[in-house]
Amino acid sequence: MNIVVEAKQIKKVYGAKGNVFSALEDIDLTVMEGEFVGIMGPSGSGKSTLLNILATIDEPTAGDIVVDGINLTKMNEEQLSAFRRDKLGFLFQDYNLLDTLTVKENIILPLALAKLNVEELERRADEVADKFGIRDILNKYPYQISGGQKQRTAASRAIISKPNIILADEPTGALDSKSATDLLESLKDLNEQDKATILMVTHDAYAASYCNRVLFIKDGKIFTELVKGKRSRKEFFNKVLDVLSALGGGANDVI
């Protein structure tokens, strides 16, 4: 199996001399193709910083990141933008849909930006819309649909360009439990059937229990790692809760 993400010795330091705050300290991370990895940790542990760095939205102070064989630290702004567009899919807590575009236009945006031809674009839009069950709202605008539908739209947008990796930042954070479960099931299907590689930051143990592997971060360092293995989702959920209580501090909102 191929390595999709390989991060070595990542450091992120904020502030100037005298008043330095270290958000990440020597983080190593490897994600294989087809993995569904969760990153958990209390507020301020550095999990979102890590995701932003992997997403090339933020730059590490030190360390190397290789995604799909490409070293991110050596790219300029334009190359990074193209990289994000072609290799990464994003899912955010606040959906990040463009208000002025219809659901369909939002979904196909990455392909339109990549200047794909229209037929291919329409075909893929239908394909992902079916996958997430949003075919009948394709011509609606974001202000006309519910939170769960918005997140499924965002998920469709994230996968339409067939990215090497999907990065999800608290995707269930703003959803009710039914919508959250629907979304997580969809992500699981995506992972299992389409072999999509997913990296998800969450502080919800229930969401984390859908992953194959969960990394725990505390104060910018890797605290521990849990692998689901042959366990059922329920057992894995309890395991995650155990680690969280050991982790303590700020991670009280487990459910």
């Binding site: 997403a55 939205i57 702004e77 334009e78 990074l80 933008s81 193209a82 990289f83 994000r84 567009r85 072609d86 990464l88 994003f90 955010f92 990040n96 849909l97 463009l98 208000d99 002025t100 575009l101 236009e105 196909i108 945006l109 990455p110 392909l111 339109a112 930006l113 200047k115 031809n117 229209v118 674009l121 329409e122 605008y141 202000y143 947008r157």
Partner: protein, 641 residues
């Protein structure tokens, strides 16, 4: 921290946002100050021929200016306060009493207004001198500029702007009382919706525009009455205004929607983002666009028309008053008195001196002409040819027997064909004679005096009629360099009195025309500038507000992989649309209207309007381009850091 210092800090913090508004405000104050100081300037008025008119015109235009500026300030202020609702809500939540917050807003506006007034007056005293020099140069006068520090102008400027600023400050004060806390806090996101396409109103809009263009461009009817003028152009004006509004409100929506239909174009690059953003914003901008398009059309029109009037003044004056000096002979003593005045002016030596005998008779045309021809003025063939020679014109006539040539009445458009094959019956004390028209000529002989119907007849004929009806003799002089003969012209005018409806000396006619045109050009130029600055500033501010609201949206775009260059390009394209659309419509409107006015004006003075119109348009485009660049840069700074 006192309330006052909090207000001061707010201004400092928001200064970037206020900057363009502030500059526009100061600029309009400078122009207002210039207008009022010119209105009160005595030295300039002494040196010119049109002093009463000048004072009056500057008085009126400063009132127009102030009305416009008041609307601009009110509009901008309502914009600022709406933008700051949330901030006001925050103060309220922090426990500040409504009265206190209101006072703070009041102070803020007041401080800014006072600073603007101080800067405006200082710049005004400095720049008004320069502007006055421009005016004097335009008028072609040699006068000392006594404009600058004028207590009267300073007082008036301060009072007028203080009233406006106090009024808007009170508006700010009232804002806080008008809203509940929850309204203040949750105002930002009103949830703009996609505008519905209304095919009917789009069609009506297009029809109205077509109708108004058609009404404007339609050739003049044979009978040109005031009723027709009001009816035809009144309807055209109303149709133009409503049509323009519907154009921005519905037609653009329809066109943008249509452009979305072309998927392979629409789904390509950032076009999808721009088109949809414009579509969402168009309704909110429609009214502003309409006002801007119509006002720029009006300004370009006035500017173009005045500009052409200014540049054709000499030609027009020479037509109205052909000779340097003309007067009716009133006995040898009087005539020699006039002549000695003219001869005494050594800097303007006499080139030609002629006697022009004119016989006034009653005449009846053999056809209908909507021009009052009586009394018909007869001159002889030889007189006409001598005049042509004295004025260096090639147009001569040679007539025999009864033949007559008509001189085209000034300010009319009659052509040769009107007179062809027709004749005129001259009534004399003993019998009458019929004179057939054989020519129409265009060289004028005497200063304009209504009715302006001159006939050239053969020398024999003239002699024959002269025996029955004694001719009046006019004395005319042509001098070197007549455009500078100010002192002599004044003396001659005083002595001669009103022999004609226009002045009896060329210089006076020329100079009055030049000054009148210069003043209008100056006024329209600066009013246009203020208007441009204000409208540019309004679009700029609207775009900035939009940029602040759209920050999040652009962040999303960055995240999904649009690079900075593409975002900048996308902002450029959007702004180009926002600035370009009202300007294009405005230019189109003004071209149509100017086509009409040029028909109207060139009928009267026969000049070419294309160059001046082009100048006015280029001028407009350049200033808008400056605002466009400013907008793109600021927008980019806000969303694309």
């Amino acid at each position: 921290m006192t309330l006052f210092s909090l207000a001061r800090k707010n201004i400092k913090g928001n200064f970037n946002n206020y900057f363009v508004y502030f500059v526009t405000l100061v600029f309009s104050m400078v122009i207002y100050y210039t207008f009022t100081s010119l209105q009160y300037s005595e030295k300039i008025q002494e040196s010119i021929e049109l002093s009463d008119t000048m004072s009056f015109m500057f008085g009126v235009s400063s009132i127009i200016l102030i009305l416009f500026v008041a609307i601009f300030i009110l509009y901008s202020n309502s914009f600022f306060t709406r933008k700051r609702k949330k901030e006001v809500g925050l103060y309220a939540i922090l426990g500040l009493r409504k009265k206190t917050i209101a006072k703070m807003l009041f102070y803020e506006n007041l401080i800014m207004g006072i600073i603007a007034i101080v800067i405006g007056i200082i710049l005004g005293t400095l720049l008004s001198k320069l502007f006055a020099m421009i005016l004097i140069k335009l008028m072609g006068s040699i006068a000392e500029v006594d404009v600058g520090i004028s207590i009267l102008a300073i007082t008036q400027t301060v009072i007028v702007f203080m009233v406006i600023i106090l009024f808007t400050s009170v508006q700010g004060y009232r804002l806080i009382y008008r809203f509940t806390l929850i309204e203040l806090f949750y105002d930002e996101k009103k949830g703009e919706q996609i505008p519905k396409v209304s095919l009917i109103s789009a069609v009506i809009g297009v029809i109205l525009l077509v109708v108004s263009y058609w009404l404007i461009l339609k050739p003049f009817p044979d009978e040109f009455t005031t009723e027709y003028l009001i009816k035809n152009y009144g309807i055209a004006f109303v149709a133009l205004v409503i049509g323009t509004h519907l154009f921005f409100r519905s037609v653009t929506v329809y066109l943008l929607r249509l452009s979305q239909k072309n998927k392979s174009r629409y789904y390509r690059g950032t076009r999808i983002i721009e088109t949809s953003r414009l579509l969402f914003r168009i309704r909110g901008n429609a009214r502003t666009f309409t006002v801007i398009a119509l006002l720029s059309a009006a300004t370009i029109c006035f500017l173009g028309a005045t500009y052409s009037g200014y540049y054709s003044n000499e030609k027009r004056a020479k037509e109205v008053v052909p000779f340097s000096y003309s007067h009716l002979s009133k006995g040898p003593e009087f005539d020699s008195q006039v002549e000695s005045i003219i001869k005494a002016d050594h800097r303007h030596p006499i080139k030609a001196k002629l006697d022009i005998p004119v016989i006034q008779v009653k005449g009846i045309l053999s056809f209908q002409l909507d021009y009052d021809i009586n009394p018909v003025k007869l001159i002889s063939e030889s007189t006409f040819n001598k005049v042509a020679n004295a004025l260096n014109k090639d147009e001569t006539v040679s007539l025999s027997g009864n033949q007559a040539a008509v001189i085209q009445p000034r300010f009319t458009e009659y052509t040769k064909s009107v007179f062809k094959g027709e004749n005129i019956t001259i009534q004399l004390p003993q019998g009458s004679s019929e004179l057939p028209f054989v020519h129409m000529v265009e060289s004028n002989v005497l200063p304009f005096d209504y009715p302006d119907f001159f006939l050239v007849v053969s020398n024999e004929m003239f002699a024959k009629i002269a025996k029955k009806e004694a001719p009046l003799t006019y004395k005319v002089y042509e001098v070197e360099n007549e455009v500078t003969a100010q002192a002599t012209s004044r003396k001659v005018n005083k002595l001669v009195g009103n022999d004609f409806q226009v002045s009896s000396s060329f210089y006076t006619e020329y100079k009055q025309g030049k000054e009148g045109n210069a003043i209008t050009l100056f006024i329209f130029g600066f009013l246009g500038l203020v208007f441009l600055a204000a409208s540019g500033s309004i679009i700029y501010f609207k775009q900035l507000t939009e940029a602040n609201e759209a920050k999040g949206q652009y962040e999303i775009l960055r995240k999904i992989g649009v690079n900075k260059k593409d975002i900048r390009k996308s902002i450029k394209r959007q702004s180009l649309f926002v600035f370009g659309l009202p300007l294009t419509v405005g230019i189109l409107h003004s071209c149509v209207t100017l086509y009409f006015t040029s028909n109207f004006i060139s009928n009267l003075i026969g000049i070419n309007l294309i160059f001046p119109i082009l100048m006015a348009i280029v001028f407009f485009v350049i200033i808008y381009a400056v605002y466009y660049v400013l907008t793109v840069n600021t927008y980019n700074r806000i969303v694309n850091k």
